[in-house]
């Protein structure tokens, strides 16, 4: 890594910190616009609501609330939950779910990526043959059958009809009870990765440098393994980055079906019941991951493919 790259990364990190600040501010203000309250709405009179808001400091001017929130946040205090678990610290509520969602998401991405790449390459190498069609159909099924339907079918098959795996997620047996949701989640990844790989691979195989390598007499195996695959994996990073972030922050439906205490269902629940601090914390976590992954991708791009230069006023 040369000096300019390090300088570039530092600059980007600074910008990322500023962006995160803006994000927290925007989110904070937007949440205040949402109708409803985090408290037991149906039976809450206006006077009671005002009293509760005062008790939790929610009656102060928005900017002051934001200032309090952000100063506490810098100290590592993300506030307390109002509606999901009354008075529990948000950090204590979110932290145990991070591990669960991360391991599920990473597992699903790994399964999905490996199978997807293999399918995609197989399809590209056997272009316009029956294998290509099978891979395409498989990929299309992967995106068309919603993951929740697929998940429930797996539960019926392997949980009830042939009971080898537990139906419900169990925090004390996370590996066995994660298999079904992981596989269900990976279906979409397989489909996307397979299609993307196929299309990249076709492009790479048609490019001049592959033709040159072929002309130079490199063996087919070597050509595919060392030249073609590597080059088609580079753009894969752009597709995979957001997928990983998305999966790691949890899938609401799958979590709901399998009873997994993950981040996705927490966020949706928090929005439904207007638990401001929980929404902020989970969204913040998501944004940090997203921004970091995007930063890593941009940097990796520069390292892997020296032709790509970013952020250096490159309109030469």
């Amino acid at each position: 890594m040369d000096k300019s790259t390090i300088k570039y990364i530092l600059k980007r990190l600074l910008i990322a910190a500023a962006t995160l600040f803006v994000i927290v501010f925007v989110l904070f203000m937007i949440l205040k616009l949402m109708p409803g309250t985090p408290f037991n709405d149906e039976k809450l009179t206006e006077a009671q609501k005002a009293a509760i808001y005062a008790a939790y400091g929610l009656d102060k001017p928005e900017l002051e609330q934001f200032y309090i929130y952000i100063t506490n946040m810098l100290k590592g205090d993300f506030g307390i939950s109002y509606a999901i678990q009354r008075n529990m610290s948000v950090a204590g509520l979110v932290a145990p779910r991070i591990g669960i969602s991360f391991s599920l998401g990473i597992g699903a991405t790994l399964i999905g990526t490996i199978i997807g790449i293999l399918l995609g390459i197989a399809a590209a190498l056997n272009r316009n043959t029956i294998w290509d069609s099978i891979a395409t159909i498989f990929a299309v099924i992967g995106v068309s059958i919603p993951s929740f339907v697929f998940c429930l079918l797996l539960l019926i098959a392997f949980g009830v009809k042939w009971p080898v795996l537990p139906v419900l997620y169990n925090a004390s047996d996370p590996i066995r009870s994660s298999i079904i949701p992981m596989v269900a989640l990976s279906m979409g990844v397989i489909a996307n990765v397979a299609r993307f790989t196929r299309s990249e691979m076709i492009e790479v195989l048609g490019s001049e440098y592959i033709q040159l390598a072929e002309a130079k007499g490199i063996s087919y195996k070597h050509l595919i393994l060392h030249h073609a695959i590597r080059n088609c994996l580079i753009p894969m990073i752009t597709v995979l980055g957001p997928i990983i972030v998305g999966l790691m922050t949890g899938s609401m439906v799958i979590e709901k079906i399998c009873g997994i205490p993950g981040l996705g269902s927490l966020l949706v629940k928090a929005i439904e019941v207007r638990d401001y601090n929980v929404i902020l914390a989970v969204s913040f976590l998501y944004s940090v991951m997203y921004i970091v992954v995007m930063l890593v991708i941009d940097i990796l791009y520069g390292i892997i493919d020296p032709r790509i230069r970013l952020g250096k006023g490159d309109r030469s």
């Binding site: 409803g36 678990q85 990473i106």
Partner: protein, 539 residues
């Protein structure tokens, strides 16, 4: 490149292993355990803050109040061995039995005074209003709720085992309220020691009830173990309860089939699959779903239009064929199994039924009302919106109601689906024509419903106002005897059902699957939804 990839892969593996390794502190549950599947996690184990059914259930499983309910819904003594009432009905004296918290300290009257005072003086305790005239009518409660900080609640620990409550006015259902978690005791020494951590995890709680919470894996599972220091421990027949949090009913049904779950609720779509199963049962829940009309709408001010719409809905068809989950028809505004009158009969048994006509009769009658309404309004076609929330059972019910109303030529019903928070906001803002909304009882008395329709009541979203009705309700409140009061309440409901600002549609039922070896899952329409003290499981 290769190095990078292998590094990335290995670090991912590491993260996933770490992820898998964490959160495995759930205790083993060997022995005679009953496993329940529940939709939602507990929101608060602190009886002062709890407002939802699931929290009530788990609090009631671990902490006992003065009174509790038996399986038929009768109030029976719990921590209070007995109680005396003064002649004017204003002073209740409870005599506590010898009981212990699970940390070894005795349960005393001071635990009650501490809990009650802490609740009513805490603005963040939403159910504190139940101490006031909307509930138990305890002396000084209304003033404190209104912000008077100098006063104290008129309650006193006469000695360790004697607890005295003074009421502001007579409250016929006062004792039944004592089974409601907001009136449960909290051990002051322990709560102060735990500070703001009290009740947040299984380690920050003590129990005085049949079970104690030994593990709470948030969003996933609670494990309750038999509490050996419970005063009635010999009558607790199981070693403990596993409570799995499963938001999706299909999944918990599958887990029931696989033999792991002993009790799960079903949604109406699953009923067809299991209705012939020997494990299938239905219970009645407290929630009443009703239709509210907005008097700001110029058409809905017409009584005949409201009657036409109220009559045309074939409620029998709705509960039998659409909901199917044990929900029952309720055309009035007070649900069944809510309150028992002085005659020992359920309120609905002695009150007349309203809007219970079957398909064709209902349609014919509704058509007549509609024809009259058309004449009076001078219109032939109107469009009304129906606000509802997109969850079960509201969504299928609303779609059914729409199709029923549209049988009347000239009425178009526009569907406005809004998730719960928004639905409530819209109701509060008066931004609706008709709304399918619900109300759960706070205490076992018809006034928990009938008060809603008083002029100026904050839940009277449709802005209904009737002097006659208000007067009748005032008469009931000042009635000399229970019988007279009951009579007046039924008359008030009759006025309401003649004006139809609201009309009941159905009372929610709970279809569930219960393992045939398990008994003692006791359901109640009011207060704590399920009480598990008498659970038994045959091995």
């Amino acid at each position: 490149m290769k190095k990078f990839l292998s590094l990335a892969c290995s670090s991912m593996m590491l993260i996933s292993l770490v992820g898998c390794g964490s959160g495995t502190d759930t205790k083993k549950s060997d022995g005679n355990y009953v496993t329940l599947a529940k939709e939602n996690d507990v929101i608060s184990m602190d009886s002062r803050y709890a407002t939802d059914g699931m929290s009530f259930e788990m609090i009631a499983a671990t902490v006992e109040g003065l009174e509790t309910m038996d399986k038929d819904g009768n109030i029976v003594p719990a921590l209070a061995e007995s109680y005396d009432v003064s002649d004017d009905g204003l002073i209740y004296t409870f005599h506590l039995r010898d009981a212990e918290w699970s940390n070894g300290t005795p349960v005393t009257a001071a635990d009650f005074t501490y809990a009650w005072n802490a609740t009513i003086k805490n603005p963040a305790a939403e159910y504190a209003y139940l101490f006031g005239s909307d509930g138990a009518c305890i002396k000084n409660a209304d003033e404190i709720l209104a912000g008077d900080t100098d006063l104290d609640l008129a309650i006193a620990a006469k000695d360790e085992k004697t607890f005295e409550v003074t009421l502001a006015k007579q409250c016929p259902y006062f004792v039944s309220l004592m089974s409601f978690p907001v009136f449960y005791p909290v051990n002051e020494a322990y709560a102060t020691e735990q500070g703001d951590q009290y009740g947040l995890t299984a380690d920050n709680l003590i129990a005085n009830g049949p079970y104690k919470l030994v593990s709470w894996s948030k969003g996933n599972k609670l494990v309750l173990e038999k509490n050996d220091s419970y005063w009635d421990a010999e009558n607790v027949k199981v070693d403990g309860i596993n409570v799995n949090i499963v938001p999706e009913a299909s999944t918990s049904a599958l887990d029931f089939e696989s033999g792991n779950t002993d009790f799960t609720k079903l949604n109406s779509t699953l009923v067809d699959k299991y209705k012939d199963n020997e494990a299938y049962t239905t219970v009645l829940e407290g929630y009443l779903w009703y239709l509210q009309y907005n008097y700001d709408n110029k058409y809905l001010q017409n009584e005949n239009l409201r009657k036409a719409i109220s009559t045309v809905i074939d409620r029998e068809d709705l509960v039998e064929n659409v909901l199917k989950d044990g929900s029952i028809v309720c055309g009035g505004f007070v649900p069944e199994a809510l309150a028992t009158g002085p005659d020992g009969k359920d309120y609905r048994e002695s009150a007349p039924e309203y809007f219970n006509m079957l398909a064709e009769d209902g349609l014919k009658a509704a058509q007549e009302y509609w024809d009259k309404a058309k004449q009076e309004l001078g219109v032939n076609e109107i469009t009304l919106s129906l606000l509802y929330e997109p969850s079960d059972p509201s969504k299928p019910a609303a779609e059914f109601i729409q199709s029923q109303i549209q049988q009347l030529d000239g009425i178009t019903v526009e569907m406005v689906s809004q998730e719960k928070e928004n639905r409530i906001e819209k109701q509060k803002a008066g931004d609706f024509d008709m709304v399918l909304t619900r109300w759960g009882p706070d205490y076992a008395d018809p006034t928990t419903y009938l008060n809603l329709m008083l002029t100026g009541n904050s839940y009277n979203y449709g802005k209904y106002s009737s002097k006659e009705y208000d007067a009748k309700m005032a008469e009931a409140a000042n009635a000399k005897s229970d019988e007279e009061r009951w009579q007046k309440l039924q008359e008030a409901e009759a006025i309401l059902m003649n004006d139809v600002p609201v009309v009941g549609v159905f009372q929610v039922g709970g279809a569930s699957l219960i393992n045939k070896n398990v008994t003692g899952i006791e359901n109640h329409a009011v207060g704590v939804p399920y009480i598990y003290k008498n659970l038994e499981k045959k091995e």
